[in-house]
Every structure is written in C-alpha cells, then in structure tokens.
Symmetry: C2
Subunit: 274 residues, 2 copies
C-alpha cells in the first residue's frame, strides 16, 4: 500500500455488487491527499468514476468521452459508485454513473467507450511553442490545497500572484504538468489532469473568490499506444475562458503529449462569486 | 397547427406521467421536416429533450449546460422522454434524461439549470469580423437533407463543394444562421442551432462520408433578456475540429448574438468513416 502512487491509492475501488446487464456498484474513499478548498479535487472525482468503468466487467474498448456533473460537494467519507451500461453497441458502449455519499447522489456522469479503429487522421490544433519543462522551475506547493502537491507543474502563463496590478484581460493558463511522483500515464490519470487548471476567475481578478466546476466534459483523442509512448513525461496543458457572465464562466482546454499529439480536449462550466 | 413554426410543431410534447419527485415523462414525434441523412437532425433531438425539461412542472431557472449522448439512430416513430430531477439545490437543478423509441433507450442526456444572478462579467472571445448577413446569399437547400430548409444559412467559410481541389487543412465553418421562417430565439431553438455546422470531415475531405455526432455538450451563456434582444435576427456561428484520429474528431463551436454577445459554447465528438 505505502509503495503505491497516491493516485492509485485514491482510485482504489472494491466491487460491491454486479448483475448480468452490466450494472455494477463499487465502494471507495477519496483520500485527503487529493483535497481541494472544499472537498476533493474535481479531477480525481472524475478519475475515480472512470476507474469504476474500467473495473466494470462488461466494459469494452477505451474511453472516448466523459461528462461529469458536480451536484453537491463531497467529503472524505465512503463513496458508492453505480455504473449502468445503458446501451451496448457493436463497437461502442454508453454508460451512466452516479456517485453517492452519505446516502445522497452527489455526482452524475455519462461516458462513451469505443473500440479503436484506423482512419484518416490529422491534427489541426498544434502544440503551442513554449520553453522546455526542464528550463522552468516547479510551482511551489506551500499554502496550496493538498491536491496540488501530487502534481509537478511548470507554469508558463496565467500565474496567480494576488497582486491587483497583475489583473489581466486574458484567462489563458499554460503549463507543463505531470503526476508527482512521476507515474506512467493512463486514462484515469489523464482525466484527472484535465481539471488541473487553476480557476480562470483567480487569474482574471487576481483574487481568491468562491468558485467550483459545475460540469466537466473531456474528449479523449489519445490511444493506448500514445499513452505508453508518453510514459511519465510532462504534458503540455492550456486552457482559457470564453465568457464570464451571471456568476458562471466556461473553460476550454487542451492537453498535448511531449511529442505534440493532442491527447485531450476538455471543457467545463464554472461557478464563481465575484 | 399549420400556422405554427415547423420547430414548434416538432417540439410538441404531451405529458404522459408525473410524480412528486420531479420525474415526468413525455410523448412526442420528430417530424420528417427535420430529417437528416439517417434519422432526425441531432440539434432537434437535443432541443426536444430541453423542451421536456422546460415543460417539467418542477423545473426552475434557465438552462446552463446540457449534454446529449446519441446511442442509437432514431426514426419518425413516437418517442418517449423520461426526465428525472436528480438533485434540487437552492439555486440549481441537476437533471437526467432518456429518450426511448421502439422500446429501447436511444439517447441519454443530462442538464444543469440555474437561477440567474448578477456578477462581474467579461467576454474574452470576440465575435469574428465578417461581412453582414444581408450582403450574403442564402445557402441553396436543394438536394440537402430536409432539416437544412428550416434554416436560413449565409456561409462565410467552410463551403462544401465536393471538388477535390477545395480540400483544406482548416475545418473552420463560419456562417450567419437563423430559423427559416424567422422565429424569436429561445433556449430550445438556440440549442438546435448549436448543432447546425456541416460535418467537419466533409469540409476537410470535400467528400460525403458516413459521419454522425456521438455526444454534444452545450453551455448557455445567454440570458433571457439577451434572447429577447436577439429576437429573430441572424446569429453568427463558427466551429472547428482540433484532431481527427481513429475514426473520431472533436468540434468546438461558438454562437454570437447579432450584438456580438457570446450566447453559446458548444462541443461535440463526431464519428466518421474515411
């Protein structure tokens, strides 16, 4: 246990019940190591939901898309995840999930899995030109929420200094990021990282205000062989907001492999009070 | 009936059952007027799901986000929509939906609704500079799938000519669009339009190949007063793909009001065979 990576310790699930139709429930607990300002880090909540699908005996293929709706804050009590195979097609599966804690549904999710197949291919969105990760210093994690210490982040753009003079009209945050300690990349780790961007409102206002993700949708472009090739190298991550309005903003982000392949497009809607 | 706009005719739902917990079912039928290459146009499937929520007696506030997973093709038979209020918070609601046809679930969806409130506001993504709608010709709809005739589209970028010489390395499609005949904008109509972009693979390859949306997530930045101000004016819509790979591509799109307000950010994952 103690030799396991913190992410693997946190994503540990035990099967509680299963039926023939692909409905299976799991129990687990999100460790304080991945705590955020209130409750656990959203990326790890997403990852443990994906982990439940990967442990479901009926799953086939790889994750293609996943949407997570955060309906209520979580604490560190036991969680129960119910996975339901809604539709099992020849080459794809549609899943629904709920995460319950203290007797109530706190998170809902849906996912599409698909078998891999060859096709015409092209990447329109190139990796931005940035300094190499090893030329940048790791972000100090003192005073940060617990989850940040599980990542090695090398900030390129979008620093939060809390200096009013650093208020910006651009919410773009760009960074190199990998698990800390380093860990070979897999789909749950990649999904967890897709929520690694510090809140856009912090960057714009250079103030810490109440904020949280309402819903997160991640599309996986990555294939298994690209994950293996990436290993535990740094990923390049970049995200921005398009509009802040009526207490909400959106965020669109992208994550590239060290080799420049676009592995993930990730989108979220964020609540803020400012 | 005959005086009603085709969209309102198609989005007609009758309540079939309702309980105290906010679970309510509806019956309807998607008219051939909104037919696509196979089955109905995805935007109208999305809109009828949103319509069901707006007709649910327990709904409060306005739609904030909606994710629709297309698990199986539909036909023109009767549909049944089940709406489930998963979590009813003080200022927000989390909904799950299924759309069944011929005795099977064909579409799943989730949505977040929220009460409006004032906040700090800013729009980072400006409307692109484009020629005015009335200086452009409407797209001819002859030979197009039926749904296209219900929109007045003025193409600016991303034409499909099926000429190999027009293959492009940029999937961007930009157009002015509004309902045809014109119809005051509301949330279902805006959601329907968020899927109006011709398939990115058609633009890139200048070939008609099998393609379809797997999952669609739309974030509503628009408020009721912005919809009213927009009325039946043209909307500016623009979308692009980021990566084509292993038979799938993503798409990120944005829709601006005539006044330049970003009303919608919309994302989808698309299947293609090429």
């Amino acid at each position: 246990m103690s030799n396991q990576h913190p992410l693997d310790q946190t994503l540990k699930l035990t099967s509680a019940s299963a039926n023939q139709d692909g409905n299976q429930t799991f129990k687990g607990q999100i460790l304080p190591a991945y705590g955020n300002m209130i409750g656990p880090y959203g990326g790890v909540i997403a990852a443990i939901l994906l982990k439940a699908l990967l442990q479901n005996e009926k799953h086939k293929g790889d994750p293609l898309s996943m949407t997570i709706n955060f309906a209520a804050p979580l604490d560190n009590n036991e969680i129960e995840i119910a996975t339901q195979l809604v539709r099992d097609n020849k080459s794809s599966q549609h899943w629904n999930l709920t995460l319950s804690q203290n007797g109530q549904i706190a998170v809902t999710a849906s996912a599409v899995f698909s078998l891999q197949r060859q096709s015409w291919a092209d990447q329109e969105l190139p990796m931005p030109q940035v300094p190499a990760a090893d030329t940048l210093k790791p972000l100090p994690t003192t005073g940060m929420p617990a989850w940040v210490a599980n990542y090695d982040m090398r900030m390129i753009k979008g620093l939060i200094t809390l200096q009013p003079g650093h208020q910006s009209d651009d919410s773009t945050r760009t960074l190199w990021v990998r698990d800390n300690p380093p860990r070979p990349l897999d789909f749950p780790a990649l999904l967890a990282i897709s929520d690694c961007f510090f809140p856009c409102i912090f960057v714009r206002k250079q103030q810490l205000v109440p904020t949280g993700t309402i819903t997160l949708t991640t599309y996986f472009h990555a294939t298994q062989d690209e994950l293996v090739a990436q290993g535990d190298n740094y990923l390049l991550a970049s995200a921005r907001a398009n509009r802040f309005h009526n207490g909400f903003s959106d965020q669109t982000g992208h994550i590239w492999s060290a080799a420049g392949e676009l592995l993930v497009s990730t989108h979220q809607l964020v609540y803020f009070k400012a």
